[in-house]
Symmetry: C2
Subunit: 114 residues, 2 copies
Amino acid sequence: MPMRPEVLKGHLDALLLAVLETGSQHGYAIIEALRAGTDGALDLPTGTVYPALHRLERAGLITSDWETVTGRRRRAYRLTTAGKRALHEHRTVWNEFSAAVTAVLTPRPTAATT
Amino acid sequence: MPMRPEVLKGHLDALLLAVLETGSQHGYAIIEALRAGTDGALDLPTGTVYPALHRLERAGLITSDWETVTGRRRRAYRLTTAGKRALHEHRTVWNEFSAAVTAVLTPRPTAATT
DNA sequence: CTCCATATGTAGCGTCACAAAGTATTGCGT
DNA sequence: ACGCAATACTTTGTGACGCTACATATGGAG
């Protein structure tokens, strides 16, 4: 199937699912994991991440349990089976997409290929 | 400067500018160039490309001249100086962004590295 | 004459990520 | 005791973007 150009947006879901693959995480921790794992390149605002998590939960890709740690209520998210499948698909899409974009953006070899 | 998460969308401009870097092109030809250059992975609809070109022209990143070839009117676009600068910036952003996403999406080495 | 490829255009729509503001608790410094 | 930073989550509103669908016009092949 030809890759849909709609993937120009929507990589956020893939990132969140990927972080959750390493184990149960709550929103705040996910944000920190992304920031730490990318040298600060991905520093997402809460207004972006929390709604996205709700979206993913509504979509059945993750589930959550409330837990209380030192008096603070937090929501621990974890991948569902569908979420793991979705993550796998997202990875495929990302690989195709990034390869295509990189190919187009990479300056031509200046025709030195003879 | 930390990469803005807003780059999650907006890579289309970079693609169009990159194609135009190889020389003057009209919309239809750009679409074909993208399709050919990516093995069909990027097959953008006209309703996506033409408005984007208008946007880029309004932004001063490209300019256009009407030409007539075998009775068909077509708009030949070419990069402006600002467009070349923008393309350069887009490449930098893309490199950072794709590296970050790839880092997060790449499955951990399962700690076999000892 | 009809159909396809070439070539451009726009209106309307849905989705998304973001900014901004708010709520509540813990724990540190003073 | 007080204030402030850090932790942790939520919601409203907004703007931009890419897509679908449709409309228009010409040239060439059959």
